[in-house]
């Protein structure tokens, strides 16, 4: 059965051609991926990154924004590779929530 990413050939709606300048958070996720991936530490291969993205549920694959899918995939891969544990990630997410949202959102380059 094809995964949710296998959409070539589907007749979907019109293409939204508006330009989107990547946000600081999006650029930071991209940078982290580069640092982890083929041009960096080679923690995991690009194929592993794709498999993690393609393993998202069809709903999440359709609804998550592009870099949100990357961040989800990275969080799966760093656990698989034994770099972080699931509880380390969920504990940190809880403490960031508890602290409030004021400091959320990367300031790229700062």
């Amino acid at each position: 059965m094809p995964g949710p990413h296998d959409i070539g050939g589907q007749i979907l709606g019109s293409i939204d051609r508006s330009e989107h300048v990547p946000t600081d958070t999006e650029r930071t996720v991209d940078a982290m991926q580069m640092l982890m991936g083929a041009s960096g530490r080679k923690t995991y291969r690009i194929d592993e990154m794709r498999r993690a993205i393609e393993s998202l549920s069809p709903e999440d694959y359709a609804n998550f924004a592009y870099y949100n899918k990357w961040a989800r995939a990275m969080s799966v891969l760093v656990v698989e590779k034994g770099i972080l544990t699931e509880s380390e990630i969920s504990d940190r997410i809880s403490s960031i929530r508890a602290e409030g949202m004021d400091n959320v959102g990367a300031k790229a380059g700062s």
Partner: protein, 212 residues
């Protein structure tokens, strides 16, 4: 609902888009902090990588095309061994093992897509535009390229063949558009200014020379 008028004791609820964005920002911050603490990379590494990303834009691709337009021998080398010819100009082609330049003519138009994800020659074109990564473009361009190109304002005559090429992590493509008419007197730099990002993906043609 403003904060003053909310007596429920709950913080004001962000709208759904904002909520999803915030979840993403929290996950990003959690991963960034933890990976820095584990010594996987430093905050400086991230800053340097972001700055390197910001420096990449379609100008590299335009430079390659303009050079191929003015130098027939270079064009032949570019079509024969694209990676080596691009490196000749001092441009880093990046980690993808292979990159192929495809030449458009009066009767052949190449269009690039990555149906499965978002593979893109970033070192030559910068970050991919959102539409390139969209489900609509990825799904449709392989079955109805003429209709898709029309949405980009590109009308091709019926006798123009369209070849859609599907990129992979190991194989990226760059389109060499046909040189526009009326550009005989232009310098290489002026020619490069006519080459747009979208024309290097194949969904549009280069700009026409102005005031010619």
């Amino acid at each position: 609902m403003t904060e003053e008028h909310d007596h429920s004791g709950n913080p004001p609820q962000p709208d759904e888009d904002r909520l999803a964005a915030t979840e993403f920002e929290i996950l990003e911050r959690a991963l960034r902090e933890l990976l820095i603490e584990k010594g996987v990379f430093t905050a400086d590494d991230i800053r340097i990588a972001v700055e390197a990303m910001d420096r990449k834009d379609p100008a590299n691709g335009s430079k390659v095309v303009a050079h191929a337009w003015v130098d027939d021998a270079y064009r032949a080398r570019l079509l024969d061994d694209s990676k080596a010819a691009i490196e000749e100009l001092g441009i880093d082609v990046g980690p993808a093992p292979n990159l192929v330049v495809l030449e458009n003519t009066a009767t052949l138009q190449h269009v690039v897509v990555c149906t499965l994800c978002s593979c893109y020659p970033r070192t030559l074109l910068g970050m991919p535009p959102s539409w390139y990564k969209s489900r609509e473009y990825r799904g449709r361009v392989v079955v109805e390229p003429r209709a898709v190109l029309r949405e980009f304002g590109t009308e091709l005559a019926d006798d123009v063949e369209i070849k859609v090429v599907d990129s992979t992590a190991d194989m990226r493509y760059l389109v060499l558009p046909a040189r526009p008419d009326g550009t005989d007197g232009l310098s290489e730099a002026e020619l490069a200014d006519l080459v747009t990002r979208d024309s290097l993906i194949g969904v549009t043609q280069p700009n026409a020379p102005s005031g010619g």
